[in-house]
Symmetry: C2
Subunit: 372 residues, 2 copies
Amino acid sequence: MTSTPPIAVVGPVLVIGTGLIGTSIALALTRAGVQVALDDVDAEQLKLAVTMGAGTVLGDAQSQLPPSTIVVVAVPPRFASAVIAQASKDFPTATITDVTSVKSGVLQRAIALGADKYRLVGGHPMAGREVSGAVGARKDLFDDRLWIVSPLSESGASHYENVRNLAITCGAVPIEMSPQEHDEAVALVSHAPQVISSALAAQLLPAHANHIAVAGQGLRDMTRIAASDSSLWVDILSENAGPVSEVISEVVRELQEVLQVLQELAGGDQDHEEIIDATLKAGVKGRARIPGRHGNIEAPFIEVAVLIEDKPGELARLFVAAGDAGVNLEDVRIEHVLGKPSGLVELSVKPEVANDLVHKLSLRGFDVRGSA
Amino acid sequence: MTSTPPIAVVGPVLVIGTGLIGTSIALALTRAGVQVALDDVDAEQLKLAVTMGAGTVLGDAQSQLPPSTIVVVAVPPRFASAVIAQASKDFPTATITDVTSVKSGVLQRAIALGADKYRLVGGHPMAGREVSGAVGARKDLFDDRLWIVSPLSESGASHYENVRNLAITCGAVPIEMSPQEHDEAVALVSHAPQVISSALAAQLLPAHANHIAVAGQGLRDMTRIAASDSSLWVDILSENAGPVSEVISEVVRELQEVLQVLQELAGGDQDHEEIIDATLKAGVKGRARIPGRHGNIEAPFIEVAVLIEDKPGELARLFVAAGDAGVNLEDVRIEHVLGKPSGLVELSVKPEVANDLVHKLSLRGFDVRGSA
């Protein structure tokens, strides 16, 4: 999984911006044997990235940059357009790409500022966690991750190939989407859910502590991303305002349909429970469309629930037992139990091995609460 | 944790309805040495419960039921009111309680049908998972769980005490709420989140598969409960229509405020990003009010991310290493990585032990991706 990918772009590659993503790209390219030049307005971040082995400072390497190289703009969204346009002028034959989490607006503004459309191909590595700064960078941050490659209709084929190969060289799996399609996709799967999570979590602010005390795992899951950095998200949401507002409109419309039926029911009026049922059933089907970890429709895993004591070593004992049983765990959830230190662990496994796992865990003295 | 609780109610207790909850209550009472009589219209479920050691069939025990006993009505919500009223007549001195997940309507209808208000005290054990039938019952299902006890204003003190002690005898932690307060609490923390999760997941139904393919953990978390049984939820939502509609109204109002700003931004109008920021910030604060596993404000745990290979034994090796390090894991998350079999595991630990854990895992050759 962390072996060097078979395809490597021709370097040197210039990475502008040595934060988490930029430095991680530089480290991944260095791992693949590609020469990397680095630039950053923040001299300290730049120095740290060099110290971490991510590459050499641009001033030292610029004169050797061959005309075929790639420039990766990995600066914060608000600076991306200007830096892309400047890079396009400074490196007049290079492929220019970026890593910004919203694409259409950033690329359009870069073009308006003079970026060469033919050499510009947008990019967005789906790199999981938000840990900022070079200090959090890892050479394997993109291993097995999707990397959206967003060519413009004017992008040249060789420049598109360069960015695809850049993603592959970094260990990622490239997936092509137009800038508009990218923005619609992330609005649906990331940006709108963020707003909805925040709007729900905001209802907890004026609530009685007693009411919140009975919260279970459902509310915790629904509000986890609401804890995210709000200033970062204001920028992202504002930048992708159109696509996000379309998804939220649809969710609001769906909620209002349910709301009307609930209000009629509460008022003792004729009920239309089939409307509630339709939303719930659509939700069941929509949820089932989220791909499983192997890129297919989510497999109907069986959940085996085990009650374990809250002390060091208990989870280890459980997973050793599961490992000894030869069962691969598809997912693990730990339920938080209020008031007392104890925990229900749910192990998701393939249906055909569930009974065997239940049996073997029980033999080891585990408190298996059955499977479902 | 599974030791016999110190307080035991005076038996025998009659449990009507030998599904998951009823049979689990009977098993928990039996564990505590309390004599239990069982009744169910479903002879097969009843027989299974008896076979599991949950108690004796009512017909065999009825004549010995002393006047001080408790009747627990654990039937599906749509039958609860009638069964409560009938039990109140059949056992004219007993404390009558139930386990229905919505309280006001069920109790009011039971009273309208002739139940004695003085002896009626509602109950709702917060028993986590939905696994139906006696077959899924466990004597420790309620251990360390909250059990909401909902007296009417007319409920007698001794009957209230009986239901409190019933909860404690079953291993649970009783918490008092009026029926109305109970319904508002579960609307906020459970019922409205269910509708919102479904409404969001419903948007995935018409979406392009490519768009859904880029989904991360956020969308998975937000839509997990959308996979729940829709027919069960139609009943619950209809029964608690008033309180649920109030929470959803507020969420819709919050979403519409954000939506208006986003639509203005998308149209190029003057922006009011501070309105988006206010919702996001309220979400951060609201989320922080959800109690941690020890009943306090959620501790600011550090997440240590480790990339492990997707094969049997790897999780075991990780947790053995964590156990050997003497570190207690507060939570575990496994990120699903699309396309390739690999997994990022996030271990939540107390801040003071994070560095030590990172160090010890790295020494064992684990691919630790840093902590945050």
